[in-house]
Amino acid sequence: MLTNSLVLGAAEAHGSNFNGGDIAFQLIMFLILMALLKKFAWGPLMGIMKQREDHIANEINSAEQSRTEAHQLVEEQRNLLKEARTEAQGLIENAKKQGDLQREEIIALARTEAERLKESAKLEIDQQKEKAVAAIREQVASLSVLIASKVIEKELSVEDQEKLINEYIQEGGR
């Protein structure tokens, strides 16, 4: 009665018995296996694959971000460098200008000082000269009076004499 033939009817060779046992067992086992696989393998693996996907996406994003950041930093540094250079240039220029100005000022100051000194010296000299001349004139006048009075003793009064001599000296002093 058993499966003694190769024909497809082998399953029906069981006679009147319903061979649902194998069918039911296969179905149940398959469903159980599927549920187990889903719980123990598929779920965790899908989770980790998703995690990996996210991780890679994140890494790519962050790499992109750091790249742009680095780019930005380089740009910033370059700008700063350029700024610093122009600033230094400006400083040097300024210092040079300032130095020039200062030199000019100092020279001008020295010049005016010198001028002032010269002026005052000249003034002094003039004053001294005048003083000296006045002193000499006085001396000469009194000496001449003395001499004249010695020479012409009583002919002339002292006032007349003095007046006369002063006239002469005035003329002579010219």
């Binding site: 033939s5 319903f18 046992g21 194998d22 067992f25 991780h55």
Partner: protein
């Protein structure tokens, strides 16, 4: 021919006196073993999950990717994503089942105990029926009953009988293709080891064709597992996808 055909260890369960349900205990055993092996593979490969996959995790991820590619080749991932776990289970279970009968077969008291569970038409047709039933279920669930029903009258109304026949033909071919390939392989292996190798000289003569046929059977088993999974997805996509 008697050496080829072993008996089956049948167990009759009296179902409340209404009918008798028959269990082929060899099938029960081998189905359990195949399921256990698949489950073990899955557990071992996911025991230590890491972002950087190694060893068995790599293998299982490869299987998942493989099935994903099969699904993607037949339908949209938006529709087919729900069948991913079904495909993984089918391809692993069928492959392991096909391999089980290759290294040896065990007969005890004239009953064949160790064999491929897929070398029995009951098992393969059960799987095929499950697949086709699932395809109808998801066809109704995803497209609605009316558009599911209209598919039977396309492209012409008189195609209806052919479409009905097609459904049964699909089920039969899906199950019997797998059964035929694996059963034939086992028959030949049994013949080689049982008939040819009954004498010492015959045993030596049988070694080379045994090795060759076992290698070929590994190939056939892998191909059949792939085909079963592929056709499952094709049938599902026919019912589920709207562009067919």
């Amino acid at each position: 021919m008697n050496t080829v055909h072993h008996g089956a260890p049948l167990y009759h369960l009296d179902f409340f006196g209404i009918t008798t349900i028959t269990f082929n205990l060899a099938n029960v055993l081998m189905i359990t073993i195949a399921s256990a092996i698949v489950f073990l593979i899955a557990v071992i490969s996911t025991r230590r999950l890491a972002m950087k996959p190694t060893g068995m995790q790599n293998f299982f991820e490869w299987v998942m990717d493989f099935v994903k590619n099969i699904i993607n080749s037949t339908m949209d991932w938006k529709d087919g994503g729900r069948f991913h776990i079904l495909g993984i289970t089918i391809i692993m279970y069928v492959f392991v089942s096909n391999m089980l009968g290759l290294p040896f077969s065990i007969t005890y008291k004239g009953d064949l105990w160790w064999k491929s569970p897929t070398a029995d038409p009951v098992v393969t047709l059960t799987l095929a029926t499950l697949v086709v039933a699932l395809s109808h279920y998801y066809g109704v669930k995803l497209k609605g009953f009316s558009s599911y029903g209209k598919e039977f009258f396309k492209p012409f109304w008189f195609m209806f009988p052919i479409k009905i026949i097609e459904e049964f033909a699909n089920t039969l071919t899906l199950g019997l293709r797998l059964y035929g390939n694996i059963y034939a392989g086992e028959i030949l292996l049994t013949l080689l080891s049982g008939t040819l190798a009954s004498t010492v000289g015959g045993a030596f003569a049988a070694i080379v064709p045994m090795l060759a046929w076992q290698g070929f059977s590994v190939f056939v088993g892998a191909i059949q597992a792939f085909i079963f999974c592929m056709l499952t997805m094709v049938y599902l996509s026919h019912k589920v996808s709207s562009d067919h």
